[in-house]
């Protein structure tokens, strides 16, 4: 630490430059992780809200809820601790001033997927809905009447709930019968048994048995199969991992150049009997100082940027993820220092002092 810190103090400019690069890399990593997290929430919020173990869909739906179609009887025959039936359809909702893509969830009021109302009240009459608070931010209000693209039915917002987006669309929660009227129109009564899926909550998913025509999948698998979800998150994750490699290489090159410049100095110190371990520790300590400062400043900048971003940018910072990525950045920087440590160990003190 003594050598490391004194060198940084003496050669401020070069160390400020490398810390600056590390700061920018960590800024980008943090920002991308926020973006990845934000995009993921955009897709999965409403599903996370269920806090479910798994979901039953028809085999032929290929894990897609809108494509799945079953009857309430099928759902009732499943043997699990808790079962919630759900009907789902996508539509465009238009109020007097606003327009939005929405996902309508038809549910039963007493099931476990019933959302907690944070503003207004729950649906009690026909065609009343609880809306995602995303719609509130977009300008929709309590009491707004919503015209839908696919039907003549008009829905009325009576309440709002937090964090409820499904595959990027804000969710409107309605009673199953409302959903069926929206979906089937005049044929609603004949189709009053029709739902899309059954969400289940149970201790052991493997013990639940279902018919061959149906498929039981874990909640996480269901989320991964939401259209575009895996593609988006893989792309961003790949970019983040690539940045880890880049920062490791940057640190490796920088420290290696510095080390090569100092070969004769290290040789002299080794001739005096200062151990490889002490010199190696010094290089690692230096890398740690630089990377830690870079990451902390990057972290601060990210936070600051987040505070000024418009709501339309789907960035959601997750502190735990950011801390982990920050630690990984410091760790890969230290991996980058290994080349220099290796160079130091190989220095022959005799050659270095020109003996």
């Amino acid at each position: 630490m003594f050598l490391a810190w004194n060198e940084i103090k003496k050669n401020k400019l070069r160390f400020v430059l490398i810390t600056g690069v590390l700061m920018l890399v960590s800024y980008l990593v943090f920002f991308l992780s926020g973006l990845a997290n934000g995009l993921e929430s955009l897709n999965r919020e409403a599903v996370d809200k269920w806090d479910a173990t798994g979901i039953v869909l028809t085999e032929e739906s290929d894990k897609s809820m809108p494509q799945s179609s079953m009857t309430i009887e099928v759902a009732d025959s499943i043997d699990a601790n808790e079962i919630a039936i759900i009907g789902q359809l996508n539509a465009v909702a238009t109020s007097a001033e606003n327009k939005a893509n929405v996902a309508i969830f038809g549910i039963e009021e007493d099931s476990f997927i019933m959302p907690e109302v944070t503003e207004g009240e729950s649906f009690s009459n026909e065609n009343e809905v609880i809306a995602s608070d995303t719609l509130l931010e977009e300008g929709f209000k309590l009491g707004d009447e919503l015209k839908l693209s696919s039907t003549d039915e008009v829905l009325k917002i009576v309440g709002f709930t937090e964090s409820a987006r499904f595959n990027a669309a804000p969710v409107l929660y309605a009673h199953l019968s409302t959903f069926q009227r929206v979906k089937f129109g005049e044929a609603a009564e004949e189709n009053e048994n029709q739902i899309n899926a059954a969400v289940i909550r149970t201790d052991d998913l493997s013990k639940v048995t279902i018919d061959d025509d149906f498929e039981l999948i874990e909640t996480e698998t269901f989320i991964e199969n939401l259209p575009g979800y895996t593609e988006q998150s893989l792309t961003l994750t790949f970019m983040i991992y690539f940045l880890f490699v880049i920062s490791s290489v940057i640190v490796a090159i920088f420290l290696y150049v510095l080390t090569v410049q100092k070969i004769s100095m290290f040789g002299v110190m080794k001739a005096q009997g200062i151990s490889n371990r002490y010199l190696a520790n010094s290089v690692v300590a230096q890398t740690f100082i630089l990377a830690a400062i870079g990451v902390v400043v990057g972290f601060g900048l990210t936070w600051l940027t987040g505070a000024f971003l418009p709501a339309a940018v789907p960035v959601a910072f997750d502190l735990v993820t950011m801390v982990i990525y920050g630690l990984v950045l410091i760790a890969v920087a230290i991996v980058g220092a290994v080349f220099s440590v290796w160079t130091i160990v190989k220095i022959d003190p005799l050659k270095a002092i020109g003996g």
């Binding site: 004194n6 003496k10 110190m269 005096q272 009997g273 151990s275 002490y278």
Partner: protein, 222 residues
């Protein structure tokens, strides 16, 4: 009792007809309290002698004994530790760390070993060498002579039992050179250490107890 002993030591480089014998069979003994000069023209093997004696390289044959310990067969790690504990080097090229102030050069030694000079002893040493006012300066702010004196201070600071100096007065004017030799003489006597000075400057031999001459790899007492 000998502090440093070389028994039947040879050192050669290369193989076959390219083989160069830098040190022919050498017997050498240095006692406590002795200031010894090794003189000889450049290329005579003086530096090889110094680095073999200081444990920086192993001899081709024979053995090197420092304070009763045969260092010939030791690993580089153990020899490194012996250099740290027992030997002070004053090298031709300045052995200072460029990003440490004069004072911090000494503190670096405190970080890696115990038994260095006390604060009072160090201040006395700074005064003796005329570098007291340079304590807070970096090597790049010093003249060649000043750097050399700091390097001497650094090698004495660790209280080595053997001090090996390679042309310690090379970059000093005559007056300073004599002062440095006087200082090395005093330190050697007061601390009862052993100092070996390799030089081609024959004016310095008046300060020394013994003078060896190195010619073509053969070391002979004068």
């Amino acid at each position: 009792m000998a502090v440093l002993e070389l028994n039947q030591v040879t050192k050669s480089f290369g193989e076959g007809h390219k083989k160069v014998e830098a040190m022919k069979k050498t017997e050498f003994k240095a006692e406590k309290g002795e200031l010894i000069a090794v003189i000889g023209p450049s290329g005579s093997g003086k530096s090889t002698f110094l680095t073999v004696a200081g444990g920086l390289q192993t001899p081709t044959s024979g053995e090197v004994i420092i304070n009763n310990q045969n260092i010939t067969k030791l690993t580089e790690k153990k020899r490194s530790n012996i250099r740290l504990q027992e030997i002070g080097f004053i090298l031709q090229s300045s052995n200072l760390v460029p990003f440490l102030t004069v004072d911090n050069q000494m503190r670096l030694l405190d970080k890696v070993k115990k038994g260095n000079m006390t604060k009072e002893e160090l201040e006395q040493l700074y005064n003796d060498l005329g570098i007291y006012d340079l304590k807070q300066k970096y090597p790049s702010d010093l003249s060649g002579g000043e750097r050399q004196r700091v390097a001497i201070a650094k090698s004495l600071y660790s209280n080595p039992s053997i001090l090996l100096a390679d042309e310690p007065t090379a970059s000093l004017d005559s007056d300073r050179a004599y002062e440095v030799m006087e200082l090395l003489q005093t330190e050697t006597k007061n601390k009862n250490t052993t100092t070996i000075v390799v030089t081609h400057d024959t004016r310095l031999i008046d300060y020394c107890d013994k003078v060896f001459k190195m010619t073509d790899g053969v070391l002979a007492l004068q």
